[in-house]
């Protein structure tokens, strides 16, 4: 009985595989034909280029129309560039097999290894869903609550034409000023966009067939506006950019590994200071409290708990698990009256609270960095006597 069932199962599995592969090849961007997959299983060289291309498309960020990640480059990158990019990206994601890194850069070999890599990507995470989510039409007005998706995209290594040669520090000051001004402009533009969005949502209240939404989004309103003119391309053209707002992808500093030493030094210095502060206090405390009564121990326990909670909250600021309550990914904006509690969806007030605490945390980090700089500069400046340093007011 068992053997028969096993044979049936295997038969079902064997039957399902070609269909799955066929579906996969249709779903993936630049999906190779099922024949390519079959050839790759036997490590045929002719299957390799298609798989390199597939991996490149899958690993690089896709804009909504599936264009290449770096529009600035114009035409799609060469095979060598694609191969290099795929290797680098897989390695940084932790791909375990070294055989991939040793494949030739002309993309002519290694189809079986590439098939393994694809399987690895599919097994690790919801790759297909992520691809679909990237290319889907955004029907609503979306606001990404978390910038991490944007940051997680590998920055396209565009060879930048830079000002060679040394610059004066005043050039840097000028660039910083320009940056500050840009941010101010951004904030005002953003405020205006919010006001307009609020109006559109108010004016179309009651129009949506989906009662939980209640009003139309900009995309939907535009769909109706342009419905007669045969201008739907504009609708889809404007949909996706609302959702994808990449923040800057900073270059990695060329001595990235040096950060480890820096952090180690800082942590050790901090540990020393803490020990130096805590030990004498503990000694002094023990000396004072030595003979106190049992009612004091209850108070002590309460203090310990309170401090424990505070420190746990502090730790949450940087540990991964802490922000789990924060939703991930884009949310669709819906304007509804304040009384609507108990329905699905997040409330803006809650999100604002979470964002404010993150803001406080980041401000603390920035202040701390600036303080370190101030101390360091004071130390360096103190080496020169005969000067008076007047700090700027209003700190």
């Amino acid at each position: 009985m068992g053997r028969r069932r096993r044979r049936v199962d295997r038969g079902a599995a064997v039957g399902a595989l070609p269909k799955a592969i066929a579906a996969l090849s249709r779903t993936l961007p630049a999906g190779p034909s099922p024949e390519i997959f079959r050839r790759a299983k036997f490590d045929r060289p002719e299957a390799a280029p298609a798989l390199w291309q597939l991996l490149f498309r899958v690993l690089s960020p896709l804009s909504a129309d599936g264009a290449s990640a770096s529009p600035a480059q114009g035409e799609p990158p060469s095979t060598e560039a694609q191969v290099r990019a795929v290797k680098s990206e897989l390695r940084s994601q932790g791909y375990p097999r070294r055989a991939l890194a040793q494949l030739p850069e002309d993309g002519s070999q290694g189809s079986r290894e590439l098939l393994l890599a694809l399987a690895w990507l599919l097994a690790r995470g919801p790759l297909l869903e992520r691809l679909l989510a990237q290319t889907r039409v955004r029907l609503g007005d979306e606001i990404p609550l978390c910038e991490c998706e944007a940051l997680a995209r590998p920055g396209a290594p565009v060879p930048r034409v830079e000002a060679d040669g040394p610059v004066d520090i005043r050039h840097l000051q000028w660039l910083m000023g320009k940056l500050r001004f840009q941010w101010r402009k951004l904030i005002t533009s953003q405020q205006e966009q919010c006001a307009l969005l609020g109006k559109i949502h108010s004016y179309t209240r009651g129009c949506h067939s989906d009662r939980s939404l209640g009003h139309l989004s900009v995309a939907e309103t535009e769909l109706l506006r342009d419905a007669e003119g045969g201008q739907q391309d504009t609708v889809l053209g404007t949909c996706p950019p609302e959702a994808s707002q990449p923040t800057f992808v900073p270059r990695i500093p060329e001595r990235g590994a040096g950060e480890w030493e820096l952090v180690a030094r800082e942590l050790q210095a901090l540990q020393e200071e803490l020990r130096g502060a805590a030990e004498p206090r503990r000694a002094a405390w023990e000396a004072r409290v030595g003979g106190w009564g049992p009612e004091w121990s209850a108070v002590q326990r309460a203090s310990r708990e309170a401090v424990g909670l505070e420190l746990a909250a502090l730790q949450r600021a940087w540990e991964r698990g802490g922000a789990a309550a924060q939703p991930h990914g884009p949310c669709r904006l819906v304007k509804s009256d304040a009384g609507a509690s108990g329905g699905p969806g997040l409330r803006a007030a809650q999100v604002i609270e979470v964002l404010r605490s993150r803001e406080a945390c980041l401000e603390a980090v920035l202040c701390q960095l600036q303080r370190q700089c101030r101390q360091e500069l004071a130390r360096l400046a103190g080496a020169l006597p005969g000067l008076i340093w007047i700090l700027p007011p209003g700190r």
Binding site: T27, P96, R124, P126, R130, A133, V137, A152, R160, E162, P166, L172, L179, W183, Q190, Q191, A195, G198, I200, Y203, C207, L223, G230, T234, L236, G237, Q245, F248, P250, R251, I252, E259, W260, E266, L267, L270, L274, A277, V307, W318, R320, A324, G329, R332, L333, K335, P344, G345, A348, V351, I352, L355, L362, V365, L366, Q368, R374, E376, G386, G394
Partner: protein, 430 residues
């Protein structure tokens, strides 16, 4: 003048930051253009201005004739729906390919015809107010396309009634009734009364085909996400983990499971942790305990901070061991994975988006302003770290114009470039 390589790196960083800002600004302006256009009067048959160089709105062009209006984007929706369906099939391993395709092709066929009729309700005001005076709309051809409809018509009627009754001064002439006014879109374009979202936005209705496609779309997303929790998924999950483990084994030795990117991200987090711990320590040390209780709490806090610092150091050593053991080689170039603060969900797929409810424009503005501020702070922190790494060593070595350099560096690093300090020479009074 700064040394050449230092200049190059710093200028590159600052330009990257400016580019990121500029990109955000571009996207914002695109959205602004779209929104402004929707809030203006909806002149028919305008050339839209979605391009970066917007052309002025031109009205009065001949409206494009009854080319299939909404089938274009319906096809797009349908393609995406098809892709979703395939994904569902890959999950379930069931083949309904045959009937699905048939159903879809039927749908796309009917979409074309239903589109013209379905978009008619989106112009109820135009029709209700269509004074058949100046330009008699050429109804001849179009009317044959329009079948008699039950429910949408009654909705149209009630909406039209509401329009007439609710808006006194704006009351349109009670025309012959909406039934006769079912002029398909292209003819309604010549309706003289303009449409503004403010006044008549409430009358808009989404086309039926769109609604059907959108609801099917969201149903499929829900199906996909619910399929995750079924039993077959557990079997798939174990198969996946086994496969991943096997891959790890064949690569020659058990790895730590960490990627170079993850290690780097965690080192960054530990740096942030160090800063925050130090800040708390300084707060505690500068506070003046008023009574025994506060003294005790200060002591406990310091000891707790010490324990956490040791944990962080330990974790740092672990990361170092992982890097060295796996010989990850040079750090990946051209990419920086982490922000200054982590975000919780890493593996959650981006399903059909959650709703975010806001109650007033002010609330939305606050929310967006905070988001921008967080992005700006993130950028500032990164720039601060980079500038510190490059400029502080320069101040350490005394060169020409050291004072000016020192003053400029102080302003950049300590005041965000906004304020300057003054240096005076301390001349002894002779």
């Amino acid at each position: 003048m700064l040394p050449a390589d230092c200049s190059r790196r710093l200028v590159a960083e600052l330009r990257d930051a400016l580019d990121a800002c500029a990109e955000r600004q571009r996207q914002l302006e695109r959205s602004l253009r779209v929104s402004r256009r929707l809030l203006r009067t909806w002149e028919p048959a305008e050339t839209p201005a979605p391009q970066p160089t917007p052309a002025p709105e031109t009205s009065g062009e001949a409206p494009s004739p009854e080319s299939t209006p909404s089938s274009q984007d319906l096809k797009e929706l349908e393609l995406l729906t098809q892709a979703l369906e395939k994904a569902v099939r890959v999950r379930k391993g069931i083949s309904k390919t045959g009937e699905r395709h048939k159903a879809l092709s039927l749908k796309s066929g009917s979409a074309a015809t239903s589109a013209t009729t379905a978009s008619a309700p989106s112009r109820p005001s135009g029709q209700a107010s269509c004074r058949v005076s100046e330009t008699k709309p050429p109804r001849g051809i179009q009317q044959t396309v329009v079948p008699a409809r039950g429910l949408p018509e009654s909705r149209l009627l009630s909406v039209g009634d509401r329009t007439r009754m609710g808006r006194g001064s704006r009351a349109t002439k009670p025309g012959p009734g909406p039934r006769d006014q079912q002029i398909p879109p292209s003819a309604a374009l010549q309706a003289p009364e303009a449409f503004t979202l403010k006044e008549k936005g409430i009358l808009l209705r989404l086309p039926m085909a769109y609604r059907k496609a959108a609801s099917r779309n969201s149903r499929l997303w829900a199906q996909l996400s619910s399929a995750q929790t079924s039993d077959s998924m557990d079997a798939a999950a174990t198969a996946k983990t086994q496969f991943l483990q096997k891959m790890q084994m064949t690569s020659g030795g058990p790895g730590s499971g960490l990627s170079a990117a993850a290690v780097e991200a965690e080192v960054g987090l530990l740096r942030t942790a160090c800063l925050l711990l130090r800040r708390r320590m300084e707060e505690v040390l500068s506070a003046d305990p008023a009574d025994c209780m506060q003294e005790y709490r200060c002591l406990l806090t310091l000891e707790g901070l010490q324990a956490i610092t040791e944990q962080c150091l330990h974790r740092l050593q672990e990361l170092r061991a992982a890097v060295v053991g796996r010989q990850l080689g040079p750090w990946p170039v051209g990419r920086r994975p982490g922000a200054s603060l982590p975000c919780g969900g890493g593996t959650d797929p981006l399903w059909s988006p959650q709703l975010l409810l806001y109650s007033s424009t002010q609330e939305l503005q606050t929310l967006e302003a905070l988001r921008l501020r967080l992005a700006m702070l993130d950028q500032q922190i990164h720039l601060e770290k980079v500038l510190m790494a490059e400029l502080l060593p320069l101040v350490g070595t005394q060169g020409p114009h050291w004072l000016a350099l020192c003053r400029a560096v102080h302003s950049l690093l300590c005041e965000g470039g906004e304020r300057f300090l003054t240096v005076l020479r301390d001349e002894p009074a002779d």
